[in-house]
Symmetry: C2
Subunit: 544 residues, 2 copies
């Protein structure tokens, strides 16, 4: 190491794109992860914590012969005298490590292997507002089975998880699609083997939320002018080719459209069939929006069946397309058998999921309640989790295809949603603060704190310089303390303590002198031996 | 990026020195960390999660002008066209990041700032057996107060924490020392300003556990032959200089020695003083070892007072030494006021703690029960946590000294201890497995699983290839499942299910055929609608 020269003071800063999390931010996340882990475990999934560091080779995005693999991941070379040390990197997700773990330990692990994992992942990307280079993921995957029952289970578990962490039924939907259906549609159009066209179409459909039906139609065909006036090239399909793609994406809507067009002329308006569809229609579209949540299993199932019938028409004779439709039907049947109807989990071909590696079912959990965005416009909260089936990840290591399916929850988005809904347990209440009036009697104050703690009350003694009492109150304020305890020489002599309800007295804490402060009705004098009882009484009052 | 050539299959391996944690290994640690966080929070500490990545500059071990700072930490340079990107590194502990966080956010944080943090840290060291390059730490620190009450609080909290996670009183001791006392002893010897000698002496004392009193005496003076026959140079003190150092380290023992020497000639054998010391002596040394745990506050306190008196003699007129003794006395008094006597927290000058940055009190939690080491020899389990006061870490950033004190728990050591004592809740029981006899009736099996889950029972359906029933049983075995459920066509027709107690039947699961397996008395046939009730009954029986 080079000789150390007198260095300037280091900057007290996180690296760009990283941040620290304080107090309730940490505990709220911890509690949420615990709840999620509880659901995953209940479903038979086992915890896995792989190392944060992987070989670049195992992560699979880069090659060791690239001089400095620093695009996308944080990577470095193990020191070696001949500069031949292995390249290592921080994991960028929890799926790539799972593939490595399964390949490494497959002889000891049960098959199928259900595992969950939660923890930070790192991306070496340009940081931006609200875009961090370290963030949490929370995944559950089943490796080693091609059964649709595995996908159904993950979707059901995702639904349970959302409800367990505090998103009520009706405020979310798990939408399910299947890549094979899309591929079937493209096959029918004669684009089945055209990987580039397929990727372009997928990428275009993914913009549906932003540009709507007309926009997607333009982008699939001749291109369009975007909001800024720039021209975006189209995929180059003909109008005839674009139509089935749009029909696919809008399949559920097209079913509802068909029903709408026949609604007025149908005569069976008292039949179960009519009433089911009318109900489904009203839930999705209608002025009967208030009936949302009463959406029944039967009405939803009928909509699902019609949507699948519609998809069946679209994929025609494409064997891959038919396989996709059958998989969706199987998945839907399994879910309904377990009581998960379209009020929770719905077949919806508009779900695309960006990632290239999905090979079958894809799913996405969306929160359907409305929030105001940064520009004050109402919009749905949107996606908080997604996943799907990927059958090729383990093959990289072993040469053998291992079918797998799994979901990843965006922990920070879900926390933001819970905050939005006021569903987070308030973990930010501070401790009871025992103030220090006489620094020579610290042992007395510590004894009070011990009594409070032993009674199950979160408490601490003020450990700063006790000279300025105002600072002690400011401290209690900053700590969000519910109660302060005071015992000056006078109180000591009389065998009493002062107990201050800080929630009541919060508004004056900043400016009051000790004398003013003592006069407030939010302060109580009790005998020393009633300290714990009185504090508990105040805390219980505050909790009401 | 260079053109990708057809790469050979990647190796499915963690990088050297890293490992994966499975199932109960993860959940046991999670549960322990939750319990520890509970105690820390109860004491008024707030959670902090800093980023895993820091600038090398902030970590402070290396300089950016060193070409490749890869000794001790995992570091890399941020990409920059001019090769002037910042060096970043993975944190190697939780204390250096705390100093950075406090310096960065000191205006918003309360002072004093009590915080706890838990998470992995990384060391770029040569891996060895049981020595990993990623491991967990679990820290609590108080920043911004020089009060001994802060140190006392941390020691008390450490004691509470150990009992909360399952180490009973009597099986651990928190030992407390003070660096200033050692410095005082060296000052008296005329070595007060000799930093190198001081470090050498500290390093030598730290070997006390290994080489004993005679060995330390040799190492402090002329050196010694170690077990392998190699000669280890001594520090070069004279015998006269070595004596006070040994007296310091052995202060508590010397007090007991003095008492032993006068025991036979003293006539006040019924006095409180005599009986206290006799009791303390017997606890530390004696044939009365069985009275361990009855060690009273009074007897321990007397021993503490005598030890402090002895240290007082050793440091003579050294102001730093006297300050150290006074700090120890204050700390001890505060702890006794809170009810933490020497049966839990003891003044013991033999505690050194390696790290250079400690400036006052140092403390260490030791587990005192005996285990057998890898060579079959009995030994005490040893240290599981340690810490102390460090007053200069924040100064690097701000120029202002900020007093701080804190503790770090070695999570993996503590888990090993709990495993040793059989104190871990058994989290490795697997889920109930619903087997698949007829793959077309997967929906039926999923419905069973849903019923079980809704009743609070961890359950899953077998998702592998159902053709070979033996594989399903092997799977249940590997999953450590307590119960398996079977419903073949016959059972379906008769409206019943078979429920198998796998704990009872475990010994035959490997080899039995389906027919043999059904005949065992550990298997029960019940009507389908009694599935949940019967499974619950079996699980409750197993838990007894």
């Amino acid at each position: 190491m080079a000789k150390v020269k007198k260095a300037p003071r280091p900057k007290a800063e996180t690296p760009k794109g990283f941040r620290d999390y304080f107090g309730a931010e940490v505990t709220e996340r911890t509690h949420m992860l615990q709840k999620i882990a509880g659901v995953y475990h209940h479903y038979g999934f086992e915890a896995l914590e792989s190392s944060a560091v992987e070989t670049v080779e195992a992560l699979g995005k880069f090659l060791p012969d690239v001089d400095r693999p620093n695009e996308g991941v944080f990577a470095w070379q193990e020191f070696d005298e001949n500069d031949k040390g292995a390249w290592m990197a921080l994991r960028y997700d929890l799926t790539a490590p799972l593939a490595r773990v399964y390949a490494q330990h497959r002889n000891e692990l049960p098959t199928p292997y259900r595992r969950f994992a939660m923890g930070p992942v790192w991306r070496n990307e340009k940081p931006g507002p609200g875009r961090f280079r370290q963030f949490y993921q929370c995944d559950a995957d089943t490796v080693g089975t091609a059964s649709m029952a595995a996908d159904a289970e993950i979707c059901a578990m995702l639904s349970d998880t959302l409800e367990t962490v505090g998103i009520p039924r009706g405020d979310y939907l798990v939408r399910v699609n299947n890549r094979k259906v899309m591929n079937g549609v493209l096959e029918v159009m004669g684009l089945g083997d055209d990987q580039a066209a397929r990727d372009n179409v997928l990428r275009t459909i993914d913009k549906f939320d932003k540009v709507g039906e007309a926009g997607v139609r333009e982008l699939l065909t001749k291109g369009r002018l975007d909001a800024s006036g720039a021209f975006i090239d189209g995929v180059g399909l003909s109008e005839d080719q674009a139509e089935p793609v749009l029909s696919f994406v809008l399949a559920k809507n097209r079913v509802l459209d068909r029903f709408a067009s026949e609604m007025d002329t149908r005569t069976d308006t008292t039949s179960d069939d009519y009433r089911s569809m009318a109900h489904a229609w009203s839930v999705e579209r209608g002025p009967l929006k208030s009936s949302k949540g009463t959406h029944t299993l039967a009405s939803g199932t009928l909509l699902t069946n019609r949507t699948l019938g519609f998809l069946q028409e679209l994929v025609g004779q494409s064997s891959q397309g038919r396989e996709g439709v059958n998989e969706l039907r199987e998945l839907s049947d399994l879910l309904v058998a377990q009581g998960y109807g379209p009020d929770r989990i719905v077949i919806d071909p508009s779900v695309v999921r960006g990632l290239g590696y999905y090979t079958g079912p894809v799913y996405e959990a969306e929160l359907t309640f409305e929030i105001f965005d940064e520009k004050g416009r109402k919009r749905q909260f949107g996606s908080v989790a997604g996943g799907g089936r990927y059958d090729d990840l383990v093959k990289r290591f072993t040469g053998q295809a291992v079918p797998a399916t799994g979901v990843s929850i965006g922990v920070d988005r879900l926390l933001a949603a819970l905050r939005e809904k006021g569903r987070l347990t308030n973990t930010s209440v501070g401790p009871v603060v025992v103030t220090v009036m006489d620094r020579d009697r610290m042992a007395d104050y510590q004894a009070m704190v011990s009594e409070l703690r032993n009674a199950g009350i979160r408490a601490e003694v003020y450990l700063g310089n006790p000279k300025n009492f105002g600072n002690q109150l400011k401290y209690a304020d900053k700590r969000n303390s519910p109660v302060a305890v005071i015992e000056g020489g006078d109180e000591k002599d009389r065998g009493v303590v002062q107990i201050k309800d800080l929630i009541l007295g919060a508004q004056i804490a900043e400016s009051a002198t000790l004398e003013e402060w003592k006069e407030r009705p939010s302060q109580f004098e009790v005998p020393r031996d009633q300290l714990v009882a009185k504090v508990r009484e105040i805390l219980e009052g505050q909790a009401d």
